[in-house]
Amino acid sequence: MQVMQAIILGIYLLAMTFIGIYFTRRAHSSESDYWTAGKSINTFVGAFALFAAIASSSSLMGAVGSGVALGVPFLFAYGFGAVAILPFTMFLVSGQIRRAGVSTLPEFFKQRFGNSVQIIAVVIVVVGMTFYMVPQLTASGLIGSYVLGIDYTTAVIILGLGFTLYAALGGMWAITYTDLIQGAVMLIGMFILAMIILTQHNGFLSLFEDALAVTPNFGDVTQPWMSYFGLFLAFLWFGIVSPSAVMRNFAARDAKTARRSAMWACLLYLLIFVFGLVVASGGAALGIADTLDNQDMIFVSVIDSYMPPILAGIMFAGLLAAIMSSADAMLLAISAGISRDIYKEYIKKDATEKSVTRLGFLVMVAASIIGIVIALDPPQLIAIMVGWVGGGLLSAFGFPIVLGLWWSRANTAGALAGMLGGAITFLVLVSTEAMALVAEPIIAAPVSLVLMVIVSLVTKEPSPAIQAQVERYHSHIDRPGE
């Protein structure tokens, strides 16, 4: 057991739990507060929250690990898509979705395409986000077992239940405010680690030389072109298709704040990937990749090798922070899907706010238990599992969202065909292992696009009211100052 690291981790988790409890009262004061923090988050908090929600454990552990194991261009391919997430989302959908006045992805599908599309979307969100809990829990289990000296299974269960509890208690208030801390810890931790590595290796040039001397293929493109392309696509679309990230957009006070938050969060993400290059080079210079059972542990080894115990403890807290905030945002999306979009919408329309919030809490606990059970024996490496979630959501939701916002001719039948066609194609490709890993959306997303366009064109056009609604999504063009 790493005593110093364990103490710091413990203090950190306790502090986060207290923050969660502190905001509980505020969160439960109204349903709107619970889901989107009362739309009163400012640019600064919003930027860190957005950054921390998107920068999942994969951004740190998976990216650095793959950069050492598969060559640093693979890490660059992560950033190639990931740094573009927020600009791409902002350009294509965030303003329009905001003007649509909805607060979850399935709500948008209902407004634009009706109940059938909404229900299918909820099912895909719930399944996708529950599966997305698995890599987060795997990563937290690896860190926890290393720091606490306990076995992986126990670590997954304890940490999983711990962060679920605080997320479920506080809703978006707790998540957003702890995100501010988590984002800062992660960023500063990566910065300090990068500085230590650069100092020990006397700057960039000799760091690269040291890395290449120990790991000769560190600078090479080792994988087929298609894997880099698939990875780029899956990450690029993540902000649009990930229900948890979209919800963040609504937590900002107004459209201007939302845009500025996204812009600054993009810079924070860029910095993380620049620090990631230094950390991966430091990892390659250690020459440990082949000695580890699990490549996802490379980052943990780098921290342990370069940092003194007290800083390593803070760094592990930062890593865990990234995992917690991502997992919390996912839990909130799952919970909103079941309790608001299905229960209140179709099962009990007159449900009180309290009962909806309470059901949301129970759903969060249930989803995290399912996630924990799968994570006890994870099916793949963290990076691959995250790639699957991104690729799957892109294949199902990417074009129904974008065409729904931009093309008034897109109709319900088209959206259903695109969503189901894309999701099924993706699942078939993954289960038959027909393509290189993570390359599935290269085929599945265009299938969804083609189906949606053709089916929309051969069926009846949407009602004039819906078409007028699509034009309203773009009202800033015709009514500046909106």
């Binding site: 060559g71 261009p73 290449l212 996204a262 800033h476 063009i477």
Partner: protein
């Protein structure tokens, strides 16, 4: 059913708006983003190296800064549009 909504006027509006949608800063900047990504992926210079790292890798790395620049351009652009 269609009589309820005067067709010619509706069509003219729809066309004008569709045209203006294509001039939206978001669409223009997405086109730039996709163009840059396409250049990187088509160029794909795996065999030239700089500082021991493949140029294909560096090309992806330098797009980070382009992506952030595009985000800044968008924010300024939209805020100017709103001021007008």
């Amino acid at each position: 059913m269609m009589n309820l909504h005067p067709i010619p006027k509706g069509e003219i509006n729809m066309k004008t708006q569709t045209k203006s949608k294509l001039k939206d800063p978001g669409i223009i900047l997405v086109s730039v983003l996709l163009l840059v990504a396409a250049i990187v992926l088509i160029w794909w210079p795996t065999d030239s190296y700089w500082l021991g790292i493949s140029m294909a890798g560096w090309a992806m790395f330098f797009t980070y800064f382009i992506w952030f620049a595009l985000a800044v351009i968008y924010v300024i652009w939209i805020e100017r549009l709103e001021k007008q």
